[in-house]
């Protein structure tokens, strides 16, 4: 069974399109409403998604974690994660899920940099590149887009990898932990969509926190090798 987890915070305008888009590729769609104050939950329910609601905003890492837990309890064999703001193309889902179903990989990251990243603003490109370099150093893998939330996970990797970050840091942390536990991590190109009015996403402060969390992992890697 393939489950799709969609973390969302005030995504009323886009959530319907995302849910309808992934329904074609997933058996169960779980929207984790991270304390939205708009109609995100209502719209997601009307589209046929299962909705879990945080009573207040926890962060994207916390929302993904809640979604993972729910998907595991419902017996998912593979779990797709996709952002609720419409920045990912649901039609890329088969590309992400294929290496999981064929057993080639345990964690597949949809990389905007393996595709055409030109719609991404320059400061985001630079920030994502810098964090990807740090995540690559900490994990020992060559990762081009460690902050991408569009991913496919095998059940085994979700069971074994318990990241601690409640915020944007979950993305890099989960790659580092998966690599350390010997799981196979792969990247596939995805389409980059940056809506003109996109108002959120990791800012400079979030980027600094992610970089700090990733840097913290590097000495642990050196220690584990020694």
């Amino acid at each position: 069974m393939i489950a799709c987890v969609i973390p969302s915070f005030n995504e009323e305008p886009t959530i319907a399109e995302v849910v309808e888009g992934v329904k074609r590729y997933c058996d169960r769609v779980i929207v984790v409403d991270d304390g939205s104050t708009d109609g995100t939950s209502r719209v997601a329910l009307l589209c046929g998604a299962e909705v879990l609601r945080h009573p207040f905003r926890v962060g994207v890492g916390g929302a993904i974690s809640t979604g993972f837990e729910a998907a595991m309890r419902r017996g998912a064999d593979a779990i797709l994660t996709i952002d609720g703001d419409g920045q990912h193309d649901p039609n890329d889902a088969p590309k992400l899920l294929r290496p999981i179903s064929s057993g080639e990989a345990d964690l597949v990251i949809g990389s905007r940099f393996l595709g055409d990243p030109s719609p991404m603003p320059l400061h985001k490109k630079l920030g994502n590149r810098a964090i990807s370099i740090l995540a690559s150093s900490a994990s020992g893998l060559r990762i081009t887009d460690s902050q991408s939330g569009y991913r496919a996970h095998s059940r085994a990797v979700v069971e074994a990898v318990r990241y601690s970050s409640f915020g944007y840091g979950w993305a890099s942390e989960s790659i580092i932990l998966a690599a350390r536990r010997g799981f196979r991590v792969a990247e596939v190109p995805i389409r980059t969509i940056y809506p003109v009015k996109r108002k959120r996403g990791a800012g400079v402060i979030d980027g600094t926190k992610i970089a700090y969390d990733t840097l913290k992992s590097i000495p642990e890697k050196i220690r584990s090798k020694g």
Binding site: V32, T40, H54, A70
Partner: protein, 117 residues
């Protein structure tokens, strides 16, 4: 006695009274109460007897008692800020875990008619 000494003594006594009231109302724990009382007593003593620390100030090679008080206060404030930050992280982590449990427990699961929007 210098005017700043009088102000420090009054402030120390006022804060002591607040701390005692807080302790009697069970607003603060016994260990916090003792720690804060020691701080307020130190503040009052500094105001009332500015020469009280002279021997310590001389031993530490500081010019005046006020240097000792300000240096010690800054260190103490850093320690308190660290402790508060640690506590805040702990509380934040617990709250986030509770939010997750509520969502998974079905309490936060919504029916279409009670959507927030």
């Amino acid at each position: 006695m210098e005017p700043y000494g009088i102000i420090a003594a009054i402030l120390g006594a006022f804060m002591m009274a607040l701390s005692i009231r807080g302790f009697l109302r069970n607003d603060i724990s016994a260990s916090s109460f003792l720690a804060w009382m020691a701080i307020w007593a130190g503040l009052s003593l500094t105001g009332l007897f500015p020469g009280f620390y002279s021997w310590l100030v001389a031993a530490l090679g500081m010019a005046t008692p006020i240097h000792f008080v300000t240096t010690f206060s800054i260190i103490l404030l850093f320690a308190i800020a660290y402790q508060l930050n640690r506590k805040l992280d702990e509380v934040n982590s617990k709250l986030n875990s509770m939010a997750k449990e509520i969502a998974l427990g079905g309490l936060g699961r919504e029916r279409p008619e009670d959507g927030p929007g």
